[in-house]
Amino acid sequence: VTLPACPSPVAWASLVDYWAHELTPADADAVEEHVFACDTCTERLGGVGALARGIARAPRRKGGMRLMLTPSLVDTLASHGVRMRHYRLQAGESVECAVGADDDLVVSWLRADFAGVERVNATALDANGAPMERFEDVPIDRKNGQVVFAHAGDELRPWPDLSFRMRLVAVDAANECERLLGEYIFHHTAFRAGG
């Protein structure tokens, strides 16, 4: 079914703000009145809602998903029954780590001095120093001086025994100049079912 084009569609930003409850009551009323009379924008708003509901389901999926976290988000996940294993490291430290059969997420709390730092990039390096994974502009928990990574349990359980380093670097706004903030070494023991 092809819906008739809307001559004055509600802006995408307004649809998203509406679904996020971030419009003023007057603006929300205006969106509602338009949507009620417009099949096209009803469909578009339905699409925003479907994505929002999907996002709300995603972190609670069994087996987890790769995600940067904040302390409040860790609390929310825990309150929803997401099972997490935690490792907390200072810059320069190493840790023996593993993933259990029931772990949805393995959470790494990496502490560093972020004073004066605008943006942080992170790279996971294998034992030979080759990049495994790169994360750009990671969220910083400035209050506690840390960044918080979560890997999905389902992603980690197939891993063999291996060691890798996480390297955090401060970058300028142009992403050109880098300064090392810290390295964190993980010695991962492979998951063995029933072991």
Binding site: D17, A20, A58
Partner: protein
């Protein structure tokens, strides 16, 4: 839909809807409020029971509109900042002020990041045929 209709019928019966021409806004506003309240609860919790004592206890969840595996893939392709903003918004139900406080961003910037992230997710899901383009 069921919850909203019950609230609408109760309101009409009580004579509290004084502007019938605004019934559309009323229905949508009530839907939004109830959806927000439901979202704050466990997804399996019941809707406000003071309005529904006389109805069957179970309200079915709306089935997912698409394959969540594809959405997970699209989410994992978002830049880190965009992913955390949409997860904090729609999963943890934080507003842009709270998200900005936690991530060191201005609330207006949080909203811009959210708009961009939803647009990317929409395009990603559309490219996989999971949502209308």
């Amino acid at each position: 839909v069921q919850e909203v209709l019950v609230v609408l019928i109760q309101t009409l019966r009580a004579g509290r809807l004084r502007q019938p021409e605004r019934v559309a806004s009323f229905v949508l506003g009530t839907s939004r409020r109830l959806a927000f309240e439901l979202g704050r609860r466990d997804r399996r919790a019941l809707v406000p029971t003071d309005n529904l004592d006389h109805l069957p206890a179970v309200v079915a969840e709306e089935p997912p509109a698409f394959d969540d595996t594809h959405l997970k893939g699209c989410l994992e392709r978002l830049p880190e900042r965009e992913r955390i903003v949409v997860v904090l918004t729609f999963y943890a139900e934080r507003d842009s002020q709270a998200i900005g406080d936690e991530l060191g961003m201005a609330p207006g910037n949080v909203r811009v990041v959210r708009h961009r992230a939803l647009a990317r997710l929409h395009d990603c899901m559309a490219s996989r045929g999971e949502i209308a383009s």
